[in-house]
């Protein structure tokens, strides 16, 4: 990439290895990643895929065992200090002093960024206002809601307007409202020139926020591309139809203009699920077809594929479509 802000080449990290390097858990197993300046890049994967290890290495908290890792033009091991001047980190848990107030937290971090007492204070006020926390700045963070805490955490990671911002599962554990708040905040960063790398377990979140997505599994990138490319590779959107009568499932399957082996049927829930190419056309088509055939549906819904479905697609042994469409797929191989 012409203007890469994050470069990871063949990064490896093993926890708990013996002195000889044997044994232990391979958290990163030859991971490659390039993130362009000013973009939002999502690292998508299940628990234990190596996402947090990657973020911790990028944020200079952890040393890779091998490989080249550069952030903003500086090596994360040899030039950790230079990297730290240019990054912000939002870890998986809100890294705040719960006994102090919101403003006190921001002032504390501002001083530790060496802004000086006055600048730290004004910066704290600016950020509290920007994240809608001005009224609660005096309250102890321990009394904040999950969403508020996360926003304050985000504010703390933006004190110096970092060149690169790392968000490790920014919405895990938040209710839908808290999630929406964080999404809005992240979107407002885009355009400010900040490069954002976020990890997530939710395809929808990556889709909502990211320009590019890297799918990781077992410590390596198994696919990457834009959300559209990945969705195409993973079968795109799906339509779920719940019928009133399970006996009509077979007839309904026959009506859908999709290869039969791509439709999943759940008799207990009277549910059938199929990939669709064009959302609205598919929805209208299914409604009309069911009506004409006299099949009563209780519910019809369009949705994104779940991460499980996407993963099955990407790691499935016989599926070469993912490779074909995404182009940069590295030897996936499901475990």
């Amino acid at each position: 990439m012409a203007d890469a802000v994050i470069t990871v080449e063949d990064a490896r990290k093993t926890y708990g290895a013996t002195r000889g390097g044997r044994g232990g858990k391979h958290a990163l197993d030859g991971l490659d990643l390039t993130v362009g300046r000013g973009t939002v890049h999502a690292v998508l994967g299940p628990n234990g895929a190596g996402k947090t290890t990657l973020v911790r290495i990028l944020a200079t908290l952890l040393r890779p065992d091998a490989g080249r890792v550069e952030v903003a033009g500086h090596d994360v091991v040899r030039e950790a200090y230079a990297v730290r001047l240019r990054i912000g980190l939002l870890g998986q848990h809100a890294a705040l002093d719960e006994q102090l107030g919101g403003r006190q937290n921001l002032e504390l971090f501002g001083r530790l960024y060496h802004l000086g007492a006055r600048r730290a204070r004004t910066r704290a006020d600016e950020l509290l206002a920007r994240f809608g926390l001005a009224d609660t700045g005096r309250k102890a963070v321990g009394q904040y809601s999950g969403g508020m805490r996360r926003r304050l955490d985000l504010a703390a990671s933006l004190i110096t307007e970092p060149e690169v911002l790392f968000l490790d599962e920014p919405t895990t554990g938040l209710d839908p409202r808290g999630r929406a708040e964080v999404w809005d905040s992240v979107r407002s960063l885009v355009g400010g020139g900040t490069t954002v790398l976020l990890t997530t377990q939710y395809l929808e979140e990556a889709d909502q926020l990211a320009d590019r997505i890297s799918v990781v599994d077992a410590g390596r990138v198994i696919a990457d591309g834009t959300a559209d490319e990945l969705k195409a590779a993973t079968g795109g959107d799906r339509i779920d139809v719940v019928l009133r009568d399970a006996g009509q499932l077979g007839a309904a399957v026959a009506l859908l203009p999709v290869p039969k082996d791509e439709i999943t049927v759940d008799t207990d829930r009277r549910l059938l699920s199929a990939p669709v190419a064009d959302r609205m056309t598919a929805l209208a088509g299914v409604v009309r077809a069911l009506e004409e055939a006299g099949i009563r549906a209780e519910d019809i819904a369009l949705r994104r594929p779940t991460l499980d479905e996407a993963f099955l697609r990407l790691t499935g042994p016989d599926d070469d479509r993912a490779e074909e469409l995404v182009g940069r797929t590295r030897g996936g191989g499901s475990a």
Partner: protein, 273 residues
């Protein structure tokens, strides 16, 4: 390459130099110390409870449980230096709790990802804990004075005794930091907290070792806390004081520091492993 202009701090360039780094180490340590002081201001009740607890122990052992075994003379005079030493030993718990909380909440991670002097996290912790312990000593001494206790060792002896107590606390502090870094999780801290009690009470804080079975007396006499208590009694001119223990009360904490200070620092640096 177009450079995004971050809100770089004026000290960014300077901080790359050795001089800037030293200045940062000092200001960052002070900032971290102030953080603890702000926490006290926000949680005065917790601070008061921490200060009152040793006072309660003093009253309980001085009046409720009554005279220590094998102590001749004024028991309050014997007990006060013991309680002072015990308070310093119990400080280890507070240090551990604070360090593990920061580790668990990821606050330490944030500090470590920032362009600050990393050592300031530990230096700030030490400074704040030492301040709190000095305050604890002052409160306990004031209560003891109100109960009629007097130090008869003169100003030099008094200052020497306080110095020995704080030195002992400083050793406990670094043991606490090391154990917290090893334990990592607040749940494991509880186990260590429970262990602090027998170690604290297997000392000459409340009773003379001579009154105990031989083996126990030996353990108690070797307890570094007992050395400090005996030396402090000597310097205060209190019952139970024996001359010649000051060197041990200096050597023990220094020996503990020689072991645990480098261990803690190494453990902290190894968080990146």
């Amino acid at each position: 390459m177009t450079t995004h202009a971050p809100l770089t701090h004026p000290t960014a360039a300077r901080s790359q130099t050795g001089h800037g780094r030293t200045a940062h180490a000092l200001t960052d340590s002070w900032t971290m110390t102030r953080r603890e002081l702000s926490r006290w201001r926000r949680q005065p009740v917790a601070v008061v409870v921490g200060l009152v607890f040793p006072v309660m122990l003093l009253l309980m052992f001085g009046y409720l449980v009554g005279g220590g075994r094998g102590v001749s003379g004024d028991y309050l005079g014997y007990l006060v230096p013991g309680m002072l030493a015990l308070t310093m030993a119990f400080g280890l718990e507070g240090t551990m709790v604070a360090v593990t909380q920061d580790l668990d909440k990821g606050v330490v991670d944030r500090f470590r990802s920032m362009p600050m002097a990393n050592g300031a996290v530990l230096v700030g912790r030490s400074a704040a804990d030492m301040l709190q312990s000095a305050l604890g000593l002052a409160v306990l001494l004031a209560v003891a004075a109100a109960l009629g206790w007097r130090a008869d060792g003169g100003p030099a002896g008094f200052l020497g005794a306080v110095g020995l107590l704080l030195l002992f606390r400083f050793a406990m502090l670094w043991i606490g930091i090391h154990l917290a870094l090893v334990a990592g999780k607040p749940e494991l801290v509880q186990a260590v907290q429970i262990l602090v009690w027998p170690v604290g009470f297997l000392s000459n804080a409340f009773a003379a070792p001579e009154s105990m079975p031989d083996w126990l007396g030996t353990v108690v006499q070797w307890n570094p806390m007992s050395q400090t208590a005996t030396a402090v009694r000597d310097l205060f001119g209190s019952p139970g004081g024996e001359p010649g223990h000051v060197w041990a009360a200096v050597a023990w904490p220094l020996a503990l520091l020689a072991v645990f200070f480098p261990l803690a620092v190494r453990r902290f640096a190894r968080l990146s492993r």
